[in-house]
Point group: C2
Chain length 165, copies 2
DNA sequence: CCAATCTGGGACTATTTTAGTACTATTTAG
DNA sequence: CTAAATAGTACTAAAATAGTCCCAGATTGG
């Protein structure tokens, strides 16, 4: 349903935690405790984030993770990419095959454009904003502009992340 | 990967076919043949689209489907809604529970806003544009504006829908 | 009235994706 | 050397997605 996966959501929470204390180095276990997510899962996610160069790590005793760069320089798009691979709204946008439906397939092209537009929007949102550490002014640009409008902002529910420790 | 489901993609193709011949009434079988999708699948999709009032149907001999309203009045958001239900980027955006992570959960709120922004963008795109029957001028608004920019448009691949008839 | 041809609505199955776990290797401070 | 970390990989379980089938209801031509 055009939804991001739980893992991506978790990862954002982890990154937000790291962003809250940029100077400290936190271990996977600490982050698991703080976020109440499963230790194994947290560990896996951090590895992935490390692979995508969003966090840096030091191994060995007293090791841990921290953000690879300032939260302001990490975009939502990058987080998505790190966890879900380069995004493509439709399957056909990925391959280069021809499909049997030459006739109607301006459709593919159109979704593709939608795709790109969304992607660009996501690039404008930094981890700083996702973490609620605001500076809502400069960035959020296009998105924020659309949000301000005739309709009122719906009161958003608080997160419901459930997992057994 | 922030992707729409195959079925939604198929549905768009079907709608595009219908949009191409607004005056005719096409049967599920005809549409299946034209789009090369499985007859059963097409049938299911059309039922769903009918349920969401995107297409109208007449039963009995010489029955068939046609668009319920002009293609210009059907938005991408409506198509998404019809097939995937009201969209919510994260799981926590749906329920009203509290999650254990009160601390970091500006995150939920932020995704929520992203969500709404994307949704609003999708509302600006009509089936007419998705079908490649353009009038790219008036609508596409915010999205199109973002697309025009420093970067050049990547050449999009043609659709690769595969299914055995 | 009857048969043919449609749509309508479920129920069901297979496949794919996602989520979560476990185990082993490697690094490093003390 | 050892304890506490990360790194890598493989595996399992669960859930969502995709696709199929069947039968009931509607309509129309003969």
């Amino acid at each position: 349903m055009l939804r991001i996966s739980k893992l991506t959501d978790y990862a954002t929470v982890l990154l937000a935690r790291l962003a809250a204390e940029p100077e400290r180095q936190l271990t996977a276990a600490q982050l698991a405790a703080q976020t109440r997510l499963g230790a194994a899962t947290v560990s896996k996610l951090l590895k992935q984030l490390h692979g995508s160069a969003l966090v840096s790590s030091t191994r060995g005793l007293h090791g841990g993770y921290r953000l690879a760069r300032p939260a302001a320089d990490i975009s939502a798009a990058q987080i998505l990419d790190a966890l879900e691979g380069p995004m493509a709204l439709t399957e056909c946008a990925q391959h280069t095959h021809q499909c049997g439906i030459e006739s109607t397939c301006g459709v593919g092209r159109a979704w593709q454009r939608v795709n790109i537009a969304i992607r660009r929007s996501l690039q404008e949102i930094s981890l700083l904003e996702l973490a609620g550490m605001g500076v809502q002014t400069t960035r959020f640009g296009a998105l924020e502009r659309q949000l301000r409008g005739p309709r009122e902002l719906p009161v958003p529910a608080v997160s419901t992340r459930t997992e057994k420790p």
